[in-house]
Symmetry: D2
Subunit: 451 residues, 4 copies
């Protein structure tokens, strides 16, 4: 008999995240209780809301992006406890092999969005160039996405979970909180450094604000305690988490270290597509989605295969195998950047600066072909661009590349002898939706502030 | 009649760089005279010595790597003046489209090497972990390379020129020298920053030491003047130069900005293969080689297609199209790194740190399969690994990935249930050649020092 | 607002084909009434039962394959009438562009089967070597399929509709029936020819037996008339139909000629995967499935783009564009065959014989690695093998190749120095299910016979 | 020290085939003496003249094609005797693994040609549609080819040897001669069959005419004897030979059965590029070229790995592994054909007829975009088209596909709403060169006739 895929975390899109049958969570903490058990080798299905928990509308207005709170992202399904065939849970020191057998948007919700936050409300990689909140809606036609706000492009996405990870142990959680707090404190001392890139928050520390802890009821003493300790989900860390690796699509395998009994696997932030870097921050095609997974436990595998790099055995990172069914693009236009910033200042082998320059070069170039720079920024953040570190040794210039698949456009965008025709230069309408923070919005805190 | 490919720069491997019929150069300067003219549309062939000008031997000793001087790299063929079909030269503001029709090792010289410099003599990306000079020799069997010092691997390379570029104008050259000098001066003030990565020189400023200026005779007043001004070739810059983009292989097209009359195209640093990042610095498979090229001039194209990003119209970068015949790998093992360094310290969205961690994770993992860490370091620097910036927005962690094609190994290196067999863990012999700076070598200067 | 995908033909798997809400059909005829309308540009979903209409069970017995009737295949959903945005139907002479935006198994029915019919009951390409009915069951894990009867293989399929086509006009239908009848009649005269390949029926002519005509009620005079005329669906013809082109997967575009008002598009015979040739006849992984499609009408396009090749303007064939997301295999073991048959007899540039030899060579080779020849036959018919015509000019030998992706096996199957290990040669159990026609089965007619 | 590649068979293009230092041969026979020895594992280089031995000119006239003699093709380099590391030769029953490490045109001869012979002088697959001799010249720009006679196309080829094989034993040679003679005799009885496809010779039997036997001097008794027995090289057979498998490019591995001591490997018929089928017969881009090879002997491998299919253990075929560096095309326009011929007649599962129809459909379609049908015929024969057998079981129609990579054109050739613009329909000049057999040419025999 055909084995059935068991739905272990259902989502009802008519309900809020906090009202789901199996309650969601948006923090990392070892004490968030698991909501389901799965067994090694079993196929199971997990449904997820989009990273902003349904607060962003399929409409022609970026106000929701402007006012959404980073404190709440990302809404995760799980944790899921993983047992072996004898019913024994995965244990710290094991490696959890998670195969992505299938994934996609939730049936009936075949759309997504790409956005930049206002610079005062989370910003993005290029927030110094693009300070306003912007939003584009994408509609899915099977494997393809297109956007009413970015006319003339259509492409096959590489769908993937932006976020998947195991629960940290208390020891690991403490390491995270300490090192991120230190950064925030040091950051204020060396503001010059941060200005190189932009004016975004240095770190996202624990805060009870908008905190959701699954089965643990808000307001209880347990909730109060955990909410103060639990790590935010914005950055990827040793447990995987929000890695935003765009190629973790169907058929991929993820080897995650296990830090707590049962592994306590959580996931969310489903992307229909994303460019390397996810440069506009809310920068993939964010969607509601499902994952169909199969887990294996490699007993002792974390110790056997991973090498800690840091003061404790916990300083490890996941490894991955890529699946066989990504869209195939054969022609790429590649933009280069070096670690000299837009003011002409030289930086030392700084791949972030080099990558920033490569992305800016791509935006400026493509905007010559009938797009506003805001349209191109969202497009290149969302479509399957490849961002590479070409050279990291040729002092003082790191060299990064950003490759754009040319087949996504309905026109030829490669350089040609002769001038770019005037027609190509007319900005296509409608443009992306834009909205700027005006100061009088009902926002009480900067999203980066910690409790 | 079949058009013939004209050999415009021949190399005689029995002669030194300074003795070649068309003399080589190893600096960027507008006044280095061109050695040949080519016409738009014509196929022409350029031969080149390896980046170290033949000073590295096909032997079992890394002493030559230890003692080679970074002042001399890279030996370039050219400059070549590009004319249109009417005989008019390319002009500043044009875009030069260079198609790579064919390339490879020089016939009779089917071998190359990969090396790390000693930390006192140039170092590498991981010089804090690998402080000694090391060297591996590669032999070519058509498209494949294998190394006696790294047994059990064989792979098809993606041959490419590590370095190709146009001559800078005097104005651009001055910009380079000024911004790099500022970095060197500021660097000393903020040593903490540089220690994050390693202890390598901040910049490589002009110096007459080992300077080669083509047809301009050493010791003449003209030589003295230019040698003091001419930019070193180590970093890639606005003119292209040492980008080390590993995918610029056969069939690629390079769009270079033109800054001087005739464009004055130079090239060298041929690589049989390289991993993204070229992490071991002398880190590709360095070889003597040839390029067969075809140029087109896009009149005004630099102004039409490129957008300056900086104080002057000169702050632009080349763009590229990738060719159709790269080796095809379908299975990759992917290592992740985040911007937390090996001491456990948190950095802010630093892609260089994240990439460093990903590469270190890969080295540690693969060295479990019968290799010394030095062997793996050279291997991953030389084979066609992909280094990506997965996410650059999830404060505070940049997330980078480093993907290794698994088919290059003669064993299965993916994680499996059960322990890694003891056999896999025995280091294969011979190992890479290693040599450490002892202080008593006949070296008078640090290669990074400026005049 | 996100456009919704409209379900135009639903299937209830608990009901028989004849009981579906929108009745199915298994013949081609212009007078089979359409069951739904779709508009150009609209995304719509069509559900389909498997080619045998649910008569084959997910069980350990090939008796159902032995007794199933070829008269009934294939059960098609539709016909669907296609209108332009003004509501005007596609017309004869137009070209219908059908984009496959998405497809897959029906939710809850994630399994399929591959089979050979008994030589007396339909046979297969190699029926002279494999005369019995055999069956293997496949279970789907997302993109992957594996079979309890063929242990040690697992692969990503290239799902596709085996059959999609437009309704023929009466004139075209008459051409079909006449030419196929002529073949059947001539065939008896030149039996020697057919014996070259095997002893299968020459053609499948119209017959009322097991005939299903959608909304036209069985037994009515209209039904009687049409049933005698309507073409069987076994072969692909000018209208597309049962082409079994394995690469018509997600993202493909099919340009179908239009012969009747509304085009009357029908589809079925969904395959999870198939090798080129579909050699075992019931030889794909047959499944229940869905298609999500989008149609465009190219007015006059049949006349503009297609060139008739035959006595009337109707002798045309569809054309296709392949989609971008097929599984990626980089290593293939390729078997060759030439047009010398198994008895040693030379045939003249006969690609069918050469292909037969290539497939037989592949079966014999792979069966050395622990499989029965029946297992390999079903496997190579079902997995994404590539069958090519390498040379069709080198008299007297056509040369065909059959390429097997080696990554589907859990062992290395390439030739190596030394003997194949004994372990590899032990046939893996369980084997495929086999069942032979005994003569006493309740079968009244040979499935190839015509009325 | 870098191992050197040993040149074992040099070619001097200024000399005729019969004047080469190591004399060429154009027949298969066990008694043709070997001209060189190679050792297992050693890299060696073999140079070859084009299939017609230099008789076809780089000029604007197809007269040389009209008058060239099929008796002389193909001019082969070798035979080469293969020894193991102990100096023992490969023996009958072994398998010879030949790796193609590198290949290409001969330096200084970067051009080739594609042609159809006159129907009276060898014809081609579509000789009934294209009865005249035609010729197109191709010039190589590195990996790319373009033709003055077929403007507007340029593509990267997949270079390969059209012909590579081991010497037959006398027993195998007798089998060949007998079965081909039988075909020729039977052919005359069943002319109807051959007329289906065209009016070409059925087989190419041994003949002393234009026979070249390497070191065996013409006119000697030994020569007379062998010339009468030696097999022509036109068809591929059990020993490999003229398989024309277009994907046997760099990095491929060929496993050839060994029939005589030393294996006696011969090779020739180098192709810069070819479409599956090589439909125009002289249908690849024929060139002078070189191969760099490495051999391994798998002792007893022929018996271990290959399964004879026929009356003797000699009825085996080679197997292959495909290399990793073929050009990458992501977009294909696919034409279909079924086994109904151009007169409307139905054939039974005849893949040759189906393939013919697919190719004819492709020619007719593409000729709408500004090409003569002759131009397209030569183009599709020479560029890397894929010819597949989609379905061989759906009686009575075999279904074949012919896929054309669209990126080779300088225009978009996919179907679009609206008429094909008039501009696209103007035949581009110059056209291919054409020449018709007039009866008064100095030709004494039909090239297909046997002694």
């Amino acid at each position: 008999m055909a084995p059935t895929t068991r739905l272990v975390v259902p989502i009802d899109l008519k309900k809020k995240p906090s009202e789901q049958k199996l309650p969601l969570h948006n923090r990392w903490h070892p004490d968030i209780p698991s909501v389901a058990d799965v067994t090694e080798g079993e196929m199971f299905r997990v449904e997820m809301v989009d990273c902003n928990g349904g607060s962003i509308g399929d409409n022609d207005n970026a106000l929701d992006i402007l006012t959404t709170s980073l404190f709440a992202a990302h809404y995760l399904s799980g944790p899921i406890r993983v047992l072996d065939k004898e019913g024994m849970p995965a244990r710290p020191g094991d490696l959890l092999a998670v195969e992505i057998c299938n994934l996609g948007p939730l049936p009936g919700s075949e759309w997504g969005y790409t956005a930049t936050f206002d610079r005062e409300r989370g910003g993005s990689f290029l927030t110094d160039h693009f300070p306003s909140a912007t939003k584009a809606i994408w509609y899915f036609e099977g494997i393809y996405a297109h956007s009413p706000q970015i006319p003339g492009v259509r492409f096959a996405g590489i769908p993937h979970p932006g976020l998947i990870g195991t629960a940290p142990s208390m020891e690991l959680l403490n390491i995270w909180n300490q090192r991120e707090r230190e950064l925030l404190e040091e950051g204020h001392k060396s503001m010059a450094l941060s200005e190189v890139l932009h004016q975004r928050p240095f770190a996202c520390l624990p805060t009870p604000e908008a905190c959701l802890l699954g089965k643990i009821e808000e307001g209880t003493p347990e909730w109060e305690k955990i909410a103060k300790e639990a790590a935010r989900t914005i950055p990827g860390r040793e447990n995987g988490g929000n890695c935003d690796i765009k190629n973790l699509s169907t058929g991929s395998k993820i080897y995650l270290p296990v830090f707590v009994d049962g592994a306590n696997l959580s996931m969310g932030d489903m992307h229909f597509s994303q460019g390397d870097g996810e440069v506009s921050f809310c920068g993939a095609i964010e969607m509601d989605g499902f994952l169909e997974l199969k887990c294996d436990i490699i007993r002792g595998g974390m110790r056997e295969y991973l090498t800690p790099m840091g003061p404790t055995p916990l300083h490890v990172n996941p490894i991955f195998e890529i699946g066989p069914v990504e869209p195939r693009f054969s022609e790429w236009l590649v933009f280069e950047g070096i670690s000299v910033d837009e003011s002409g200042k030289q930086h030392y082998l700084d791949a972030s600066v080099a990558f920033k320059r490569a992305v800016l070069n791509a935006i400026d170039y493509i905007s010559k072909f009938g797009y506003s720079r805001e349209q191109v920024y969202l497009l290149l953040s969302a479509c399957p661009c490849e961002g590479r570190i070409a050279a990291i040794v040729d002092a003082p210039n790191a060299c990064a590349t950003f490759a754009v698949p040319t087949a996504i456009f309905d026109q030829d965008i490669c350089p040609k002898p002769g001038k770019i025709p005037m027609g190509a230069q007319l900005v296509r309408k409608p443009d992306v939706m834009k909205c700027t923070y005006a100061g009088n919005l009902p926002i009480t805190k900067n999203p980066s502030a910690s409790a």
